[in-house]
Amino acid sequence: MTTEAATEVPRLISIDGLGDLFEALVAGGYRVIGPAVQDGAIVLRELSSAAELPSGWGVRLEPGGYQLRRRDDTAAFGHAAGPQSWKRFLHPPRERLWSATRTAAGFEVSGDDDEPPRYAFLGVRPCDLRAIAIQDRVLAQPGSRYGQRRARAFIVAVNCTEPGETCFCTSMGTGPGVDGAAGYDLALTELVDESGHRFVVDVGSPRGADILAQVRSEPAGDDVRRARSAVEAAADRMGRHLETEGLRELMAASHRAARWDDVAARCLTCGNCTMACPTCFCTSIEEVTDLTGEHAERWERWDSCFDVDFSYLHGGSVRPSAKSRYRQWLTHKLGTWHDQFGSSGCVGCGRCIVWCPVGIDLTEECKALQAERDAVEGPVEGSAEEKS
């Protein structure tokens, strides 16, 4: 075994090496966040060792359904997206922005200047890696707590070899493999076969190289090819497909589509899709005071465009109907997100499909909107390409 500095050439680490990687991250001052089985699901939480990873667990996914299943191997990352995403840590559900204390002259403001946490995210899927990059464009503003947490976060991506029934990352161009410019520190590909349980490791940053240098590794040799073909094979096993050609234009042109009434008859406007979505970023800020009135705090919390008060202006909500709120969510995610932030807001992780209590499937809704448009304009030959 060697501890020589990692190079551009992919390295190979054993399953024990994964434990070493974990220890190296802890020794580096990181709080390691990763997947673990808890409450009947694979959640993301702070881990105390690599033994807590969900080895041998997979998931069965369907619209409105999620079940753990036993795998017939020991893969630690043999599962598709769970109910949470990494935004829970970079963009927490509740966060105090600042506090104020009453004084004779008025009030004093104090910020929360405590040291932002240093997270190491272990097991970031390529779709979720893109989701982080998409949130960066919205939230990583100068001086923001998000930006500070993000800059400190160490990312161990894991290429996807096990897409779920509701996945469509290939449609969105976000997976199943990471691309070189994706912003990870290390990227693993898990291999479990007769030759053993091991990981091919690609280095994405000098910081990643430093950590890998503390882990027993060897040249990956032929396993590089095996790893790449496992990821390529995953691309052919996506459970869903979303036609993205002309999708942005479809969203802009579908304001009066009858399909919105159809989906509104099913949608509970519960907002689960926005909570589970790894890119949905909307928040509200609330004023919280103690009983004496001597102390006030400003708290930011996740909000959802499905909440009727979300668009409230004095006099009433701009979007009182369920159809207008579902339409806002879908057309923003797939359409106007491009205008606002330069990309689609969807990464194809499928969480909104799985965690919708009535199983509304975004890919089906888009197909229906496309069909409705084609019924009016006539089908487009060969593809769903938009004529303009």
């Binding site: 008025g106 403001v109 928040t283 800020i285 465009c305 202006l313 109907s321 205008d339 606002q340």
Partner: protein, 284 residues
């Protein structure tokens, strides 16, 4: 060479965008039964000087924060901020109740502005509905300073809802063509009665050479802008100020979306060429 410059400019840590600067109320003017103008002086480092049309987030201790358009800039010595607030909810009621010496928080300035300088030399037509005159007041003052030709059309629900009434005569004396109308007259009112849109046609002498500035309730904004288009003013020369639920001011909370626009960042001032198709969509 750069080393010296870096030391002469003391780099200050970026101020978290959500933290307010504290201001004291220096003066309070009761505009109407529900509307108040506050003159504010900074206690902390002041916010950057707003441009006409921009807004701030005003914070009332223990109550909350609301978006308020800036109604005056730099008209008294020192970094003074003038804001006009109508009491429509808990926070605005608390702000309207503030008296000289009271402290409030200010974040901003945020959003796009009226681009008053671009209209230099053109006829300026200002159309205001109710408290919509507040963000337009700096436009009128800038036009009077530059001696540009300015016509101001003011509408309100009733005579009691008119704001800046003391100043309207001052502006007239300084050369502005000010025309006022109310939806419903009352005893003692001998002025015009009718919607402000009804004043538009007669107020335009040279449509191609006119830039229009419109702010008021959304229905009034839409109908006024359409009347301006009908009178021959190009849609791109009609600027409207739009309102949605602004919360953060820095395009990260998502509340103020109007289709592709985040109005706290891409607005509140947009050209009618851009706004017209968006305003035509229900529940957008």
């Amino acid at each position: 060479m750069t080393a010296v410059q870096e030391h002469t400019i003391t780099p200050t840590a970026p101020v978290p965008p959500m933290r307010p600067a504290r201001y004291l109320v220096a003066a309070r003017i009761q505009e109407t039964y529900d509307t108040v103008t506050l003159l504010l002086r900074p206690v902390d480092d002041p916010i950057q000087v707003p441009r006409p049309g921009q807004f701030t987030m005003l914070y009332a201790y223990g109550v909350g924060e609301v978006p308020v358009s800036v109604s005056g800039i730099g008209e008294a010595p020192g970094p003074v901020l003038v804001q006009t607030i109508r009491a429509v909810g808990a926070v605005t009621r608390a702000l309207c109740a503030a008296t000289p010496g009271d402290m409030i928080g200010v974040r901003g300035p945020f959003g796009t502005d009226w681009r008053v300088n671009d209209a230099g030399g053109r006829h300026m037509l200002v159309v205001a509905g109710g408290i919509g005159l507040a963000p337009l007041r700096p436009v009128v003052l800038a036009a009077l300073r530059a001696q540009d030709r300015v016509v101001l059309l003011v509408g309100a629900r009733s005579p009691g809802d008119l704001v800046f009434t003391r100043e309207l005569d001052v502006w007239r004396r300084r050369g502005a063509d000010v025309r006022v109308t109310v939806d419903h007259g009352e005893a003692g009112w001998d002025g015009r009665v009718g919607l402000v849109t009804g004043l538009i046609h007669d107020a335009i002498a040279d449509p191609a050479g006119t830039t229009a500035f419109v702010c008021g309730p959304e229905i009034m904004t839409r109908l006024s802008a359409q009347a301006l288009v009908d009178a021959g003013i190009p849609a791109r020369e009609i600027l409207v100020s739009l309102e949605r639920n602004m919360r953060c001011g820095v395009a990260l909370c998502g509340h103020c979306q109007l289709g592709p626009l985040l109005l706290c960042r891409d607005g509140p001032v947009v050209s009618y060429a851009e706004a017209a198709p968006l305003l035509a969509k229900r529940e957008l």
